[in-house]
Amino acid sequence: MTLRELVASWPVLRQLKGGDPRGDAAKSRRTARLRPRIRDADKVVDSVCPYCAVGCAQKVYVKDERVIQIEGDPKSPISRGRLCPKGSASLQLTTGSSRMHEVLYRRPYGTDWERLPLDRAMDMIADRMIAARRDGWVWEYEGRNVRHTLGIASLGGATLDNEENYLLKKLWTALGAVQIENQARI
């Protein structure tokens, strides 16, 4: 900005030219350029609120591969664009600072967390699954076919989506595990 422009933008001058010092003359350049940030989104993605079973429709606004806003989708005949406080807090839930992004490991008898790379953790868990499954394996009970294992169990699923639960149930059952439960119980 040149000095001239700077002076010309001085609200007092604008005021003297007839601008309202309580209105347009007082506007700053930043204000004049104001746009809702969702207008700058690279894409808008259809989503559903992750909290409760009402299933309110959400729109997720993304800019530079980051979520910049989440709001209700008025198209939904269920929620008509509205969100309760929890649904409205989805942005902070998903992008807030309490989210963990690292795998942590506590060794037996350890007193604190340690870091562990994800692929290493996956390998270790796979090994442990196989071992615990074998340990708890039962072929039969009083001569009757059982072919299950009580060595492993899993809990949770109501915050997971259908596809995740489906794979979970499928894998679990193929492993012979029967102790698979979730919030639908409690």
């Binding site: 007082a26 204000t31 809702p36 989440i70 709001e71 509205r82 969100l83 406080p85």
Partner: protein, 287 residues
């Protein structure tokens, strides 16, 4: 000038969910306000301020809500209204029958006054009136002088601790400028917060009060819808079920700047008086 836009907040359908508070914070990236368990029913926000641009009030009263049957039965007196919360089990309470109870909820916000004291007194022009007739603080201009804060007859504005600036509801100036609904109104599940052209809202509100009154909800009344009041009518007005002061609102607010011409006259006289008296002091004897 665009059409004047505003809010009609109909507290008779508010469910006290506080979605408006959260949606506002998310949209405007307002800092969190700290954990403070107040004991004021379910209200832990307490008041509007720099970091709460919507505030939902919760009022438990020994009063009937029309013919609603609350089912409760209590013995014993209740402490009078206005008692500080640590002394009052339920507050504010209207002395009344122990079988009466109603729970009022109401979402408060900046009133975007027609005569806005905050705007009038702002020395920097940070506060200005938009083409929608709303009142907005420009955070890049505000210098934290704090003058607007006590000027507002509703105690809406607050100063943010870390940067000293004053903050309040912008009526989502960025959104409405682009044809979007303000974040709080959009989230509100029951449409307690209604956004639109002010004239339409006033009509709708008037009809709503009539409906409610006719249906036996005698307490229903409009607040700040009247352009003859001390702030020239608000851009955000309310349907209340009790006196404004019950909700923490001033019963008869006036924009103090209305008295400003008189005040300037007095000040001019006083200044002249000082000059005159000062000069007069030199008249007369030298000792």
């Amino acid at each position: 000038m665009a059409e004047r836009m505003g809010f009609f907040t109909d507290t008779s359908v508010c469910i006290g969910c506080k979605a408006c508070e959260v949606a506002c914070k998310e949209w405007n990236a307002i800092p969190e306000d700290g954990l403070n368990f107040t004991g004021m029913s379910y209200d832990n926000t307490e008041r509007l301020g720099a970091d709460s641009w919507r505030h939902v009030a919760f009022i438990e009263q020994r009063k009937p809500l029309a013919r609603q049957e609350p089912g409760v039965d209590h013995e014993g007196p209740v402490p009078p209204l206005g008692t500080p919360p640590d002394l009052a089990p339920m507050n504010p309470m209207t002395p009344g029958e122990g079988g009466d109870l109603r729970w009022l909820m109401s979402s408060d916000v900046c009133k975007h006054c027609t005569v806005a004291a905050c705007l009038d007194v702002c020395p920097t022009g940070a506060l200005f009136r938009t083409e929608f007739g709303t009142v907005v603080v420009q955070s890049d201009v505000c210098n934290g002088c704090g003058y607007c804060i006590p000027a507002c007859p509703f105690g809406v504005l607050g100063q943010r601790k870390d940067d000293g600036r004053a903050w309040k509801c912008t009526l989502c100036y960025d959104r409405i400028g682009d044809g979007l609904e303000p974040a709080c109104a959009k989230a509100c599940p029951t449409d307690s917060i209604q956004y639109g052209p002010l004239d339409e809202l006033r009509e709708r509100a008037a009809a709503r009060v009539t409906t409610l009154n006719d249906a036996g909800v005698d307490d229903a009344r409009l607040y700040l819808a009247d352009t003859d009041d001390g702030i020239g009518g608000a851009g955000a007005f309310f349907l209340l079920l009790d006196d404004p002061e019950v909700y923490g609102l001033p019963p008869d607010p006036i924009a103090t700047t209305r008295d400003l011409p008189a005040m300037w006259r007095h000040a001019a006289l006083a200044a002249a008086g000082l000059l005159g008296a000062g000069l007069l002091a030199f008249a007369g004897r030298r000792r």
